[in-house]
């Protein structure tokens, strides 16, 4: 703490502080280090009370304070002319034209989901949706980015089934369509699944709302559900520690979501915002009332005075600290002018939503917590400088060490792979194995459980490279014929093998997915999932991933407008793969021009935009056929990637293409199979690329998109490709009932369709 930081004077004359020795012990138990505890004493100028100690331990936990990640996150730039709100609020906001703006963000709910997948995932969706409507936006779509262990393990099937059901159970009830996502299954996630939820909301630009408390004398109002002991210590206990057997016993009361209440909250809050009855609005997320109230005060440079006994409680005999740190779901905190309170109450009543004034905004700069059941004069249980509490958590510069495995794996010689001379029959079988792989096969089993059409704006059904929703306030306000394209991506295996390149590929793949539907990236959110940051090797990968992602974002001028860090994703000492998931949003200027990856009709010319290199390192092929995760991931040439995207994006916008689908896991063989399967049309291909067959088919080289064009447009496309100086090759023609790749693959459409479509359900149902 610097010398000149001014701490506002305390309000309390007397407050029951803890015995100094006991306090130090409790602090450690609550997860503070000895130095952090000293920091608490410095800020407070005395030994804290029990409630204060709980509050500090949460506010300074990793989850709330980002103490290990803050410095690294400064590498990201949120600059961009259409950025209306960067990181720091509940969600970032960009303008998408015609006065419309969207708020979006992605957040993890990994640890709660590992304990109870249904409720964990459901409340993850609930939390991210609250972040969106807090900003004044109506939630219009969700995506989910999921990681589990392999499905041959019953527990993994349980987690996967439960998480998918929970995501659907919550989002479906709210009437927010879940339009896309991604999922991978790999051993690295066995002890620690990842549940990252993305949400986006639409609003008129002028309706942006921020969680900035202001106006001493204004009321602090709690809206929504009652407060119980759910998830007490959830944020600090779960998200700030490794997950092992001990954690299972530490299990706090699991948070149970109530999507119905959340649906009512959406309607109530949006109506109150529209009528201008809120001075500020924030949601209660991790660390509940504590974090939401102190951040609101700190952002506004004001004080806040709360009486815990006014908080509606669903359990008896709750202690003040329990009320302050409870993570009961579906609650919002608003600042309301006293003269508006009656009107607020009226709207809440109409929707049967509880609404209670629990305190006031003050000019003291202090965050004061009272318990009015105590005798007057002795009723203050916490009295802290709001600003310092919210912003002065320690910032760490953890040591980094390049993990030894990196050099070892990256230099592994994989040339043996392509030396093998495999027959077309063998290669065809290998392709079938890839199409059946849990990481490649159709995700229909998942998205069928998600209402992906409610709100009537879904332009592309899930399964497309990027999801597209129309920009429209369906049934309430204006509608446009423009759309929002969105995608979430991250290949953790690449990030494991090279965190810098892997993170760049996550961004590139998202942008490529957008290009396939004719959209350019507007901005991203991210969800950085890593192991224990106090381990130098883990922190190195975190650092490199952030550099990779931020460098690539700067190269393309893509702002990072929101995000989330999830550390301590470890079990029994093993960290997950570094998994910096990217959630990207772009604008589609005319939704009638979007294309899908599906081949459309017989006789179209198939062109590979981009070029295949010998890049089987970290590939799905290597994993499925040889159970190996090794080598260097594919290289990424940012310039080439940008050029490929641009030419395809513009061709889609100008209506030149019949289909576009990017190459990712499984290489061009899988991409072609998917185009055939989804389109119900075969293809006759000749990959005349002078590469060994295995490489040609399954290499995962970046910057490649398979497109199909009809006769009239072939020349136009080729002209454009030549002008853009983008490598390309004409590789065949659509038609027939087979996918046949000259000399390499011969498979019937029926067969590949069956394998691709049915695999996931079979894997889930295996016993």
């Amino acid at each position: 703490m610097s010398e000149d930081t001014k701490i506002p004077t305390p309000v309390a004359d007397s407050i029951e502080t803890l015995d100094p020795e006991l306090a130090a012990q409790v602090a450690i138990q609550l997860g503070l280090t000895a130095e952090e505890y000293q920091g608490v004493i410095d800020v407070q100028g005395r030994v804290p009370s029990l409630t204060e100690l709980y509050i500090y331990s949460l506010m300074w936990s990793e989850h709330c304070s980002y103490k290990h990640s803050k410095k690294q996150l400064r590498n990201f730039s949120s600059e961009g002319e259409h950025v209306l709100q960067g990181p720091g609020e509940n969600a970032g906001v960009i303008s998408v034209g015609d006065g419309w703006a969207v708020a979006f963000k992605m957040e993890s709910h990994n640890h709660p989901s590992a304990i109870e997948p249904y409720e964990g995932a459901a409340t993850g969706v609930g939390g991210i949706i609250r972040d969106i409507f807090t900003m004044g936006a109506r939630p219009i779509a969700c995506m989910d980015s999921l990681r589990f262990g392999t499905l041959d393990k019953p527990r993994q099937r349980y987690l996967f089934e439960g998480a998918v059901a929970g995501i659907g159970g919550y989002g479906n009830c709210l009437g927010v369509p879940t339009v896309g996502g991604e999922v991978y299954f790999e051993e690295a996630y066995e002890g620690n699944c990842l549940i990252n939820a993305f949400a986006i909301g639409l609003m008129r630009e002028e309706n942006i709302t921020r969680a900035v408390g202001s106006g001493p004398g204004n009321l602090v109002v709690l809206i929504g559900s009652s407060t119980g002991r759910d998830g007490i210590g959830g944020a600090s206990v779960l998200a700030s520690q490794e997950f092992d057997e001990a954690a299972e016993n530490k299990r706090p009361a699991v948070q149970v979501g109530d999507p119905f209440e959340e649906k009512l909250l959406i309607e109530v809050c949006l109506e109150l915002l529209k009528r201008g009855l809120f001075v500020a609005l924030g949601d209660l997320g991790a660390a509940g009332l504590t974090s939401s109230a102190s951040e609101m005060a700190s952002r506004g440079g004001v004080g806040i005075d709360i009486d815990v006994r006014k908080v509606p409680q669903r359990e008896s005999a709750m202690q003040p600290f329990e009320i302050m740190v409870s993570e009961s779901q579906e609650r919002m905190l608003a600042v309301v002018k006293p003269e508006d309170f009656a009107a607020v109450e009226q709207v809440c009543k109409r929707w049967s939503v509880a609404c209670t004034a629990i305190g006031t905004i003050t000019d003291t700069g202090r965050f004061v917590v009272r318990d009015s059941s105590l005798t007057a004069g002795n009723d203050i249980v916490a009295d802290m400088p709001a600003e310092m509490l919210a912003t002065s958590a320690p910032e760490y510069d953890p040591p980094m060490l390049r993990p030894a495995y990196l050099d070892e794996l990256q230099s592994e010689d994989l040339s043996w792979l392509s030396r093998e001379n495999k027959s077309a029959a063998v290669l065809s079988d290998e392709l079938l194995s890839l199409l059946a792989s849990a990481n490649i096969c159709s995700r229909e089993w998942i998205w069928r459980q998600y209402d992906h059409q409610v709100q009537s704006n879904t332009v592309l059904l899930p399964g497309a490279d990027a999801a597209v929703v129309r920009i429209s306030d369906t049934g309430r306000g204006g509608s446009t014929n423009r759309g929002l394209a969105m995608s979430t991506d991250c290949n953790g295996r690449y990030c494991y093998l090279d965190p810098y390149v892997g993170a760049q590929i996550a961004l590139a793949e998202s942008a490529r997915n957008l290009a396939c539907v004719g959209a350019a990236p507007s901005a991203i959110t991210d969800c950085l999932n890593f192991g224990n940051p106090e381990k130098p090797e883990v922190f190195y990968t975190f650092h490199k991933a952030i550099l990779g992602l931020s460098d690539a974002c700067k190269y393309y001028g893509i702002p990072v407008i929101s995000g989330n860090v999830s550390f301590y994703n470890e079990s029994f000492g093993n960290a997950i793969y570094p998994t910096p998931a990217v959630g990207m949003v772009g604008v589609v200027d005319d939704i009638s021009q979007v294309v899908t990856g599906a081949f459309k009709q017989q006789g179209d010319t198939i062109i590979l935009v981009g070029q295949t290199e010998d890049e089987l390192g970290g590939s799905e092929y290597l994993k499925v056929m040889y159970d190996k995760v090794t080598g260097s991931p594919p290289a990424l040439d940012l310039e080439l990637e940008g050029d490929v995207q641009k030419v395809v994006r513009e061709a889609v916008r100008d209506g030149i293409l019949q289909s576009a689908h990017d190459c990712s896991e499984g290489g061009i063989a899988v991409t072609l199979a998917e185009c055939c399967i989804v389109g119900g049309i075969g293809a006759q291909i000749d990959l005349d690329d002078e590469l060994p067959a295995v490489t040609s088919l399954f290499s995962e080289s970046q910057s490649r998109i398979v497109v199909s064009v009809n006769d009239e447009q072939v020349n136009e496309l080729i002209n454009r490709l030549q002008q853009a100086q983008v490598p390309y090759s004409v590789i065949g023609e659509t038609g027939g009932d087979n996918l046949s790749i000259e000399g390499k693959i011969e498979l019937s459409l029926v067969k590949i369709t069956e394998v691709y479509r049915e695999s996931l359900e079979q894997l889930v149902k295996q016993r």
Binding site: E116, D230, D258, S328
Partner: protein, 95 residues
């Protein structure tokens, strides 16, 4: 033939939105005097004589209840084929 009745209920402190909603609805229907309402599961299991109470307990732990958020209790009510499933007078949960 054996007859087990299994009662699955939310653990203490676990929020029960369905129960809350039903309670509100009863309020609105004019039924006053309700202090609490919780909704759990009532499972009726009929087995042959080979299935032990211990096995049923295991079934609950593994599948029928979710130990993270639910408790359960088991009531073995009848052991002959003649006794009917739902007696009006059944003693319910208290054994």
């Amino acid at each position: 033939m054996k007859q087990y009745k299994i009662f699955v209920t939310g653990k203490q402190g676990i929020f029960d939105p369905a129960g809350e909603t039903a309670r509100h609805a009863l309020d609105n229907l004019g039924y006053t005097g309700i202090e609490s309402l919780q909704i759990g599961k009532y499972i009726q299991l009929t087995t042959d004589d080979s299935v032990s109470a211990e096995a049923v307990k295991q079934m609950c732990e593994k599948l029928l209840a979710n130990p993270v958020i639910e408790d359960f209790s088991i009531d073995e009510t009848a052991t002959s084929a003649t006794s009917e499933i739902a007696e009006k007078t059944n003693a319910g949960a208290d054994e």
